[in-house]
């Protein structure tokens, strides 16, 4: 078998089962692809020794007839996950040199299921960004290009390294995290599948915190079946995360029948934005037609507070970030600034945080500090939390009326060029998350499925939003959409 790195999880699993291939062969194929793809800057800490050791162990387990669900499958891990003894920097200078003494619950569950870690993946610093341009490692680059144009494009963010690596076949799948769209937007930009589960499905323990009430981990994969396999491994109750749900995790893969007859799919009118590109509008209409042809009923719905989701998010997320990032003080881990003679502890904090945090992170920490400060707490923070209640109620009303899933575009545009947004004000960049951020605020599961190409040959994604805890049904609807859309395009190799 050649090009083993191009396989998906399910295909590779079946080939391993049949003995057609070994995990060591799969892993070596991925490691070679990674080494040849430095131009994408997706893998920022490579761990070939760990990978080969785990691959050998996986081969032994497979031989012994004791293969767990992801045994021998090589994957990448976003740098936000703490991995024992391996640099885990959240793409920040302030965590330079940090090697955790512990393993995040999600990456531990993946390892326990036999998955092989190839290395750590690039991302926006502390997951704050939509283009992977705020990383201390430099930009991750999309493997996609606009026709023959050699302008470098963003893989999206914050899970940009994960998206680039999966789309370029450097690994079979990768972990991502999603606070406002950080799995779904990069998945859409790079023609792969990404699901953010219901808040509480995946343990947040050991994942560097950005906004704790919004953060969720999820898989980024080459297709919906792979997402089902990997999500099941990542989910489950964890006593170390007090918001982790004590619910049984179903066999998501077994729920992929592709049968969505009689399902009610809502089309929210508020997602039809002014100035939306005609291509996105058409993709959305085509997606609705595909689901209808598969037997679903399409209904128009209203989510009246949609417009206020982004402003509410840009109060709540920075507020939580300013609290969470207070721990980076140059004392317990990471990097401390060089101090001048006579500098006291306050100068140590201020210089360390000024040097260690990038511009966007500093901006968000300070906005968060402001909205939480005396005199503004009610006007900003409490108001935003009230609006969040209303946004969630919008969804509850729609689901109570019998809607099974909601179809929207995943992003307001296709991928853009690295550096093209540098001159824009921060709010312009925030608009990337306009269709995804509502889902985090409401704690719902959302999945991005590649559904077409724009005129320049770049991938576009559709998002499906499901009921809380109903990832199985959501994945099945996504599976039906995937089957109908028949997206098979891959980026041409230039790197």
């Amino acid at each position: 078998m050649s090009d083993l790195n191009k396989l998906g999880l399910a295909e590779a699993r079946d080939a391993l089962c049949k003995g057609d291939v070994t995990s060591v062969e799969l892993t070596e194929s991925c490691l070679a692809a990674i080494d040849a793809a430095d131009a994408l800057n997706a893998f920022v800490h490579k761990t070939p020794e760990i990978a080969l050791e785990r691959a050998k162990a996986a081969d032994a387990r497979i031989k012994g007839g004791d293969a767990p669900s992801m045994c021998g499958l090589p994957i990448g891990i976003k740098d936000l996950f703490c991995t024992k003894g391996v640099p885990s920097q959240a793409a920040s200078k302030i965590l330079e040199g940090f090697k955790p003494e512990y393993e995040s619950t999600v990456s531990q569950q993946l390892a326990d299921a036999g998955a092989v870690m190839l290395g750590k993946l690039n991302m926006d610093e502390f997951a704050m960004g939509s283009s992977n341009e705020t990383s201390v490692y430099g930009n991750a680059v999309s493997p996609w290009r606009r026709g023959n144009d050699d302008v470098q494009l963003t893989p999206g963010g914050s899970s940009g390294g994960s998206a680039s690596a999966v789309a370029a076949d450097l690994c079979l799948a990768a972990t991502g995290t999603d606070t406002g769209g950080s799995i779904r937007q990069p998945a859409a930009f790079t023609g792969i599948t990404g699901i953010k589960p219901t808040y509480g499905r995946c343990s947040r323990w050991g994942i560097v915190a950005f906004a704790s009430s919004l953060d969720q981990a999820g898989p980024m994969t080459k297709n919906v079946r792979d997402a089902a396999i990997m999500l099941e491994t990542m989910c489950g109750h964890d006593p170390k995360d007090s918001t982790s749900a004590e619910l049984a995790v179903p066999n998501f893969e077994a729920m992929l029948t592709g049968d969505i007859k009689g399902k009610k799919i809502g089309i929210p009118k508020e997602y039809r934005m002014d100035g939306m590109p005609a291509e996105i509008e058409k993709l959305w209409a085509d997606g609705a037609e595909m689901l209808k042809a598969a037997g679903a009923e399409i209904v128009d719905i209203s989510l009246p507070h949609t417009k206020y989701a982004l402003p509410a998010y840009y109060v709540i997320a920075p507020a939580e970030a300013s609290s969470n990032l207070a721990r980076y003080d140059g004392v317990r881990y990471g990097r401390r600034a060089t101090l001048a003679q006579g500098d006291g502890i306050t100068e140590m904090y201020e210089k360390t945080r000024a040097e260690g945090f990038g511009h966007e992170v500093q901006r968000r920490v300070m906005v968060g500090t402001y909205v939480l400060s005396a005199g503004f707490y009610d006007a900003y923070y409490n108001r935003a939390r009230r609006v969040r209640t209303l946004i969630k109620k919008d969804f509850e009303d729609v689901f109570a009326a019998g809607v099974d899933a909601i179809l929207t575009p995943a992003t307001p545009s296709a991928s853009f060029g690295l550096g093209e947004m540098t001159e824009a004000d921060p709010v312009q960049m925030y608009l990337n998350d306009v269709f995804t951020v509502t889902v985090n605020l409401a704690g719902l599961p959302g999945i991005s499925v590649p559904a077409g190409l724009d005129a320049q040959g770049l991938p576009l994604g559709l998002q499906l939003i499901g009921r809380p805890w109903d990832e199985g049904d959501l994945l099945n609807t996504a599976y039906a959409l995937e089957n109908a859309a028949g997206f098979v395009a891959k980026p041409g190799k230039w790197w």
Binding site: K99, Y308, Y314, K351, R363, V367, V371, P426
Partner: protein, 95 residues
């Protein structure tokens, strides 16, 4: 609400991030752009609406108040920029 340079300086101080004086005008202007965007929330009628505390209605679990962890001083200190004699070391705090 408009943020002036002295407010920007105060916020930077509260956040313990050193911002040079010549960077304050740009910072204040960025805050104003973001806060201008956030001001849209004032259009929403939130009368009688409870602020969200937990997105999924679940009761946080309680456990026995007992020691579950410990005896790993080396691991705790392993990543410290400056650890001495079993302690985190910082610049002198008390005169």
């Amino acid at each position: 609400m408009s943020i002036d340079q002295s407010t920007a300086a105060k916020v930077a101080k509260l956040a313990r991030i050193k911002v040079e004086d010549d960077a304050l005008p740009a910072l204040a202007s960025e805050f104003n752009t973001i806060l201008g965007f956030i001001e849209q929330l004032n259009e929403v009628d939130v009368e009688g609406v409870e602020p969200m505390v937990s997105v999924e209605p679940m009761r946080l679990k309680r456990r026995e108040d007992v020691v579950t962890d410990g005896n790993q001083q080396d691991k705790v200190l392993a990543n410290a920029p400056d650890a001495r004699e079993g302690f985190f070391a910082v610049p002198k705090v008390v005169e």
